[in-house]
Symmetry: C2
């Protein structure tokens, strides 16, 4: 297995109601990534794309082959991946393997979603298709309800009074918005207070509006290359140190592991073992905060905090710049935005740029960052872990 | 790169209106493949699934993780691929790489679709999302219209009178139905005559109903393993000799190559080069006859017949058992059926069973078959070529 590097990155502004189609959004970020990588579209040997609702939302399936052709990547293999919110990371991990195996030297990975043409209630119902549609969705399990359930189980298991948990969850949101203000690509470039969170309307108790990430339109892309190519083309190649993927199936089949989400512990273990690293080695983390409780659970599952203590960690600033483990310094899904199929690729973009030391101007650089981990959760329990390294 | 073998196969009956969900269909064929491979669900290290309309048709996205969990493949990486009708073959090619690279030893590939709950007119419009949705679908390009266009271009380029072309297309359909009668999994186990084809109603001139494959519910699965594992477990492992994938983008961008479909020529060239084989070495072929004109174009693109002559080849019986190159001895998409995301995996099932010599009882064995090629076309120009070998 060869080492694989990120040598180019592209990222759209995340927003409501983009005037562009998915093919157009993807084309733009892909060209940015290709240009940054100092290659041409004809050098791209294969294309990997995360996209979830293209057919449902926009009436366009198979976006990957249309956009690839439009930007001049003619006749390449172009593959679409769907693992709900983890689709983008899934595409990245797969592309990694095609380069690591020696089959390709230079490939493009993109992620794109248009998710805001529908009203939020309809989008919420639509997106519940990525939970179990036979037994759970009919019982009311849209994703806000799933994470409300997890919040109750979490509070109960760790004996945290619900009002206290709400305050902890608010601390997660407040931090995410604070950093999103510094991120020019973020959907919500606006700080909010703990009080703003706690007075927002209840979506599915105890989850309130400001505990939940938005629906978002957006795209991101990265160019991956073999180490040999990367050393020729990139000033600061960022390498994959480890990758992991796991899945769980329906909630009712994993009740013993709720709310820890076992698939995350397995996927991240794979990535850490492959990298020969531990959570202590990580300098930053972009994790899947589709809800603030999801962020807390993720930080524990990844090994950064003891179970039941991550809310306190956020409150104490351990997840901030300069803290024990800076988490979601991009603003996270909550405030940067969550264009479903693009999210994993956006996380890779963020960690790559941090590991290159390019966030100084934005005032959100993790000083001297060498290792970063990406965590993406898709639907009922698809988990991706990707560890990137500057060394 | 290691050699990779098919060591287990499973296939549902193809039909209208299956009473089963996609997760259930997939679970059943996967267990058949696992049992035939002499492994257990816990031995499966990763799962790859082709599926297109799960969310649209059934309200179930991400079928791969739910079915994997249901059959006891707990916490494995489970990935869904979408490349329209080529989704299943795309999943197979990707799974092939994960084993060939040495990352996994035993993986499961499945394909599944429910496509018949919608009326055929609605399904036709729905499926047009896998063409270009911006310029072509609004101009009336559902897939019957796309292939009607190709038929006219084909007739014109090769100076074949349209009535003569219709007779050639009918010959393709008649042969497919004849072999489907012998295939217990086929959707249409009924022979039809040339006259039946020519008197069927016109869908999009010159394409008539009997020139078009049906929508179908169904599933198929195969277990892939490294050569080392295959030699221990399988009596007759069938090996991958070559794989290829290419794509084109929207029709208007490839007008020079219509109706040859350039992506097919590229994908099959990749597969032949990788295998060190030529079209002459092939003993059988399962190709993408979504329409009878599609079959004719495919047979030429794969190198079996000169351009403009494959209709005559079908009429002369060169595509039959004992002919120059037996094509779609399964009944093909036209008569075996076309459950979109399952089709590529079903083709691998067919060729594997032929290369093992297991079609004798059904009266449709290609005698002494050593090499077989699979051709799958997805939407506007995703092409997969897979070459399997008994030696």
């Amino acid at each position: 297995m060869r080492r694989v590097a990120v040598i180019g990155t592209g990222h759209s502004k995340f927003m409501f109601n983009s005037p562009k189609t998915s093919v157009e959004m993807l084309s733009e970020v892909a060209m940015d990534a290709i240009n940054e990588a100092n290659v041409k579209p004809k050098d791209i040997q294969a294309v990997y794309v995360g996209n979830v609702l293209g057919d449902f939302e926009e009436g366009q399936g198979m976006v990957q082959s249309f956009f690839a052709n439009d930007i001049g990547c003619f006749n390449v293999p172009a593959t679409r991946f769907e693992g709900a919110c983890a689709s983008g990371s899934m595409a990245v991990r797969d592309a990694f393997m095609w380069v690591a195996s020696g089959f390709y030297d230079i490939v493009l990975v993109g992620g794109v979603e248009r998710a805001t043409s529908m009203s939020v209630p309809l989008a919420t119902r639509t997106f519940a298709m990525f939970g179990d549609s036979r037994y759970e969705y009919p019982a009311g399990f849209t994703f806000p309800a799933v994470f409300a359930l997890l919040a109750h189980l979490y509070a109960s298991r760790y004996s945290i009074p619900l009002q206290r948990l709400k305050e902890q969850m608010a601390a997660v949101t407040v931090q995410s918005h604070e950093y999103a203000v510094k991120n020019p690509n973020a959907q919500f470039k606006k700080a909010i207070s703990k009080e703003d969170v706690l007075k927002s309307f209840v979506v599915s108790s105890p989850i309130q509006l400001q505990d939940a990430c938005p629906f978002t339109d957006g795209a991101a892309a990265v160019v991956l290359a073999s180490e040999e190519v990367a050393k020729k083309l990139a000033k600061k190649p960022v390498y994959f140190a480890g990758v992991g993927q796991s899945s769980s199936g329906k909630l009712s089949s994993q009740y013993k592991y709720l709310p820890r989400i076992r698939a995350r512990e397995i996927a991240s273990r794979q990535a850490f073992d492959m990298a020969g690293l531990t959570p202590k080695d990580m300098d930053l983390c972009e994790l899947h905060d589709c809800f603030s409780i999801a962020a807390m659970i993720a930080a524990e599952g990844l090994g950064f905090f003891d179970y039941g203590t991550s809310g306190e960690a956020w409150e104490k600033g351990e997840t901030r710049l300069g803290g024990k483990i800076p988490i979601n310094i991009s603003g996270g899904l909550k405030a940067k935005g969550h264009p479903i199929g693009a999210t994993g690729v956006s996380q890779v973009y963020e960690v790559t740029r941090q590991l290159r030391g390019e966030m100084v101007e934005q005032g959100r650089q993790v000083e001297g960052a060498r290792y970063g981990i990406i965590d993406t959760l898709g639907g009922d329990g698809v988990l991706l872990s990707l560890i990137l390294s500057a060394v």
